[in-house]
């Protein structure tokens, strides 16, 4: 345990990389997931098909496989992203599929009468989505999105397998030298917990902020 504590600075450096991966991955998933969700609810068949295909593809491919393809496959056709960027993009691509479904189910919680009322007062589809439906839908999306956040945070540890110097990777390096796997992973686990709880805390704050005063 002493060894783990004396290398805590190094682990914190890895934790920072994990935080960056998580934030970039989650931000990317929210942006991309929102667009996909809109694609899945608009009354335009090709867009719905694209949205649905994306979700089914990226939700069903293991993230590690995706990272592996991204890192070792793309260079074969001349596209090389850095290891960190590849991991972040893969987290976003995969997270977007889950975010899309969270947002879509949120949209579905808004009663159909709201959309009809919006149309009745002359709003276009985009306007009714932006001004009527999405603001209400976001309320019921907060907790599912927290789930996505935690999912992204925890699966960012897969980046360790493709040589990104994150918390898990540095924990493994520590074990290599000092053979203190249990202690090292306890500390790493605690740091992951901090990150997940942080996400959950932010979710709870958003939920209170978006709550309707009835």
């Amino acid at each position: 345990m002493n060894i783990v504590l004396s290398h805590f600075g190094d682990l914190l450096g890895g934790f920072w990389v994990t935080i960056e991966l998580t934030l970039l991955g989650f931000a990317g998933s929210v942006v991309l997931g929102t667009i996909l969700a809109v694609c899945r609810v608009v009354p335009i068949t090709p867009l719905r098909v694209i949205g649905a295909s994306y979700v089914e593809f990226f939700r069903n491919i293991p993230l590690l496989t995706l990272m592996f393809l991204f890192i070792f496959g793309l260079p074969d056709i001349g596209i090389t992203y850095s290891l960190f960027a590849s991991a972040a993009i893969c987290l976003a691509l995969s997270g977007a599929a889950f975010t899309c479904e969270a947002i879509r189910s949120g949209i579905n919680t808004v009663p159909v009468g709201q959309a009809e009322a919006a149309r009745a007062i002359g709003l276009t589809f985009t306007q009714s989505l932006r001004c009527v439906i999405l603001p209400q839908a976001f309320r019921s999306m907060v907790q599912p999105l927290v789930n996505v956040f935690i999912g992204v945070a925890l699966s960012s540890s897969l980046a360790a397998a493709v040589a990104v110097n994150d918390l898990t990777n540095r924990t493994q390096q520590l074990n290599l030298e000092y053979a203190e796997a249990v202690a090292a992973f306890l500390v790493a686990g605690a740091l992951y917990l901090v990150l997940s709880l942080g996400g959950a805390g932010a979710g709870a704050w958003f939920e209170r902020r978006l709550a309707i005063q009835r």
């Binding site: 942006v31 991309l32 496959g73």
Partner: protein, 322 residues
């Protein structure tokens, strides 16, 4: 309300760009998947020779298997529970057709199992539990495996947790680079370079010691490390020289440079609370050194890529921690 509109408007502008680039990247990613996987074609070891070497290895006297000992529990069970790998070139690689594990580490574990149980059928001698750097000590401590054969370098820090029999092999880390690379010739040239290595290897440790300014990239497998060098992600790949030579012999795009810059004594990990195990395994090692089984196994595995005769086996107990 206006706040929402402003926010989602911004969201939309940035997100369209992101979607376009992400989706195109994703599509390209799946399209190329056929050409992706780094191949792991290893040197071929003929099954009959290999099995014959194991089958000809010595068997312990019944008197050596004392009552209530580590050896007796293995003998009663009928097979050795081995912690190791099924994807380590030359050392322990699974033959996907027969399901047989082959390699220097695998062969030694099978010989040890034969020594204790007296059986000859290679497939039933051992049961493998795949171990990693993170699990080796714990699995030995809690009795999930009887012994670890996993290119397990003997170090004083590890010797506090597990007992090491051996050393049974001494290896050195060398450097693999792209064929056209002329700037890296020895370990000092790795300064500031991206250097790949296997996350389960001690090469990462030697790099920290001999090239502290190299930027480490820890990948899971040998094949990934070679691909990283070939694709220019890593400038060099550092690992056991034997494995690198085998990689270079399979892949004309890379080459091995310089001589090994470390000495890695590999040991057999055994439970610390069963002191009889270490003495027993060391006795067995001396036997297979003396009767030539060790030499034959080296020839059939590592010797397929490293030219020349088998080296003299390392002295038992010579490594710090064994």
């Amino acid at each position: 309300m206006s706040q929402h509109i402003a926010r989602s408007g911004l969201l939309r502008r940035t997100s369209i760009l992101a979607v376009a680039s992400a989706v195109s990247a994703a599509l390209v990613g799946c399209g190329s998947s056929a050409a992706v996987t780094p191949t792991a074609a290893g040197p071929t070891v003929s099954t009959s020779d290999y099995s014959a070497i194991i089958a000809a290895a010595p068997v312990a006297d019944t008197s050596a298997i004392t009552r209530g000992s580590w050896m007796e529990s293995v003998k009663t069970r009928g097979y050795l529970q081995v912690g190791g790998s099924d994807a380590a070139q030359l050392f322990s690689l699974k033959d996907l057709e027969t399901g047989e594990l082959k390699g220097f580490d695998a062969g030694l574990s099978q010989m040890l199992a034969r020594y204790i149980t007296g059986k000859t059928d290679v497939l039933s001698l051992t049961k493998l539990t795949t171990v990693t750097v993170d699990t080796r000590e714990t699995l030995l401590q809690n009795g999930t495996v009887d012994a670890v054969f996993a290119t397990y370098t003997i170090t004083p820090a590890r010797a506090k947790k597990v007992a090491f029999a051996g050393a049974y092999y001494e290896s050195g880390d060398a450097i693999l680079v792209k064929k056209d690379n002329t700037s890296i010739k020895e370990v000092a040239d790795l300064k500031g370079k991206n250097v790949a290595t296997e996350s389960n290897s001690t090469a990462a440790l030697s790099l920290k010691k001999y090239a502290p300014q190299a930027r480490l990239q820890l990948f899971q497998t040998d094949a990934e490390c070679v691909a990283a060098v070939q694709q220019g992600r890593a400038d060099a790949y550092v690992l056991d020289q034997g494995i690198l030579i085998s990689d270079a012999s399979n892949n004309p795009a890379v080459k091995v440079v310089g001589q090994p810059f470390t000495q890695e004594p590999y040991g057999i990990g055994l439970p610390l609370n069963k002191p009889e195990a270490k003495a027993f395994v060391n006795t067995w090692l001396k036997k297979i050194y003396a009767d030539g089984s060790w030499n034959k196994l080296w020839k059939a595995t590592i010797g397929t890529v490293v030219s020349g005769d088998a080296p003299a086996p390392p002295t038992i107990g010579s490594a710090d921690g064994s």
